[in-house]
Amino acid sequence: MIDIKQYIESGILEEYLSGTLTPTERTEVELTADKYPEIAQELASMSLSLSMMADIGEVVPAAYMEEKIWDEILRTDFDDQEELIGPNKAVIPKTSKLPYILSVATAIIAFVTIYYLIIANGRLDDAKAKITSLESENSELSANYDKLKYDYDSLTTLSSIYDIENTKLYVMKPHRRSALGSVVILVWDRTTNQVYADIKSLPVSNSGMKYNLWAITQIGQQINLGNFEHKGISQVIKLDKLHNAVEILLTQEKESGVSYPTMSRVYCKAKIY
């Protein structure tokens, strides 16, 4: 509900009559006049006053116009429902369903496209999640495979070294409080003097440090049999050949290496006999 007096006083009817409103605004005024008879009456009255100006400003058109216009009227299909509000809208007759169909089709296509984009986007996210999951699984499987392969290789090595006829086994005794749970087995092939260290359990190597195995001979020589890094996974280490050793020491030394075992860093040891 509008304030009719305020609407009339606003000057919009004068703007309507002077033609300065946009086609849309013009239609709004016409709809308002349809709804409120007082506004329609005011508009009619003002329009009549202005039409006096048209009476005086008459200019007779060229004589040929009368027939020209009539011919055009005869040619025009008046079944069209063209709007009065402006020439721009009159270009496409509204009875043509093509623009409407195109608009609807465009809207449907846009809607379907957006719908499928959303679905596709959701699926893409799912796919990405699955790929991430698969990559993770793959990485895990790869790690497991590496571990299994390593274990297999270790077991193969172990089975091969433990099957040697002239083998002697020495279980190294933990010598350090932090290495009490250590299990290191030395496998000595007495035929070839080859030595293997089967590392079942041992504290992880300290940063910048490596384990070193030393052979102590009867005359007190300290021979380095090899070194390794231990990351907590059981492993078999092939060491240098062993000659005349009476004791084996396992120490942890700097990565750069040392000439002699550091006796304060002995983790395990075993008497050779």
Partner: protein, 185 residues
């Protein structure tokens, strides 16, 4: 409501319903009536607004076609048949110069009324009568009404041309139309 129809100097009375029926049926006599009585008034308005004979003729033709096409929409509670036609014509002319391809032909800033008179001498005569009519209004009101109603200037264009605040233009037009109603109620 009834209308006086002039057919070859024969005056007939016809009801609104018959007029609408006749226009819907493309009745030549109804067309003749409309053309003889209103074409000069409509063309005069179209020519004042568009300033171009060819465009004004297009506007006149389109006005008649729209009148025939939309005669069923005419509502006599909103005004006379002529004011309805006049509004169609004025709106058509203004749409032509503002939104149509012809808009480029008309430069409001360079509008030279004297030159327009040279091209359309009948307009000068018409304008002389118009000024006599409008002389009863104040100068300011007369000027804004002329630019707005007869030349199709927008309110903002009038404000710019007359170096006047936009709000003043709106109020002057409003007052001018009301003054005109007092003179020609």
């Amino acid at each position: 409501m009834s209308y006086s129809l002039h057919f070859d100097n024969i005056i007939e009375k016809i009801s609104n319903i018959d007029l609408i029926k006749g226009l819907k049926a493309k009745d030549r006599k109804c067309y003749n009536y409309l053309y003889k009585n209103y074409s000069a008034k409509l063309y005069g308005i179209a020519l004042h607004i568009t300033q171009k004979t060819d465009i004004a003729e297009d506007v006149l033709q389109e006005t008649f076609i729209k009148v025939f096409k939309h005669v069923h929409k005419f509502d006599d509670s909103k005004g006379t048949f002529f004011t309805w036609m006049l509004n169609i014509c004025r709106n058509g002319a203004i749409d032509k110069i503002r939104y149509g391809k012809e808009s480029k032909k008309i430069q409001f800033d360079s509008l030279n009324v004297d030159m327009v008179y040279e091209e359309n001498p009948e307009m000068k005569l018409a304008n002389n009568e118009l000024w006599t009519l409008l002389d009863k209004l104040d100068d300011d009101h007369k000027e804004v009404l002329k630019l707005s109603y007869y030349y199709g200037y927008s309110h903002s264009e009038i404000a710019k041309k007359l170096n006047m605040p936009f709000g003043s233009v709106k109020s002057k037009i409003r007052i001018a139309i009301r003054e005109l109603r007092k003179i020609y109620p």
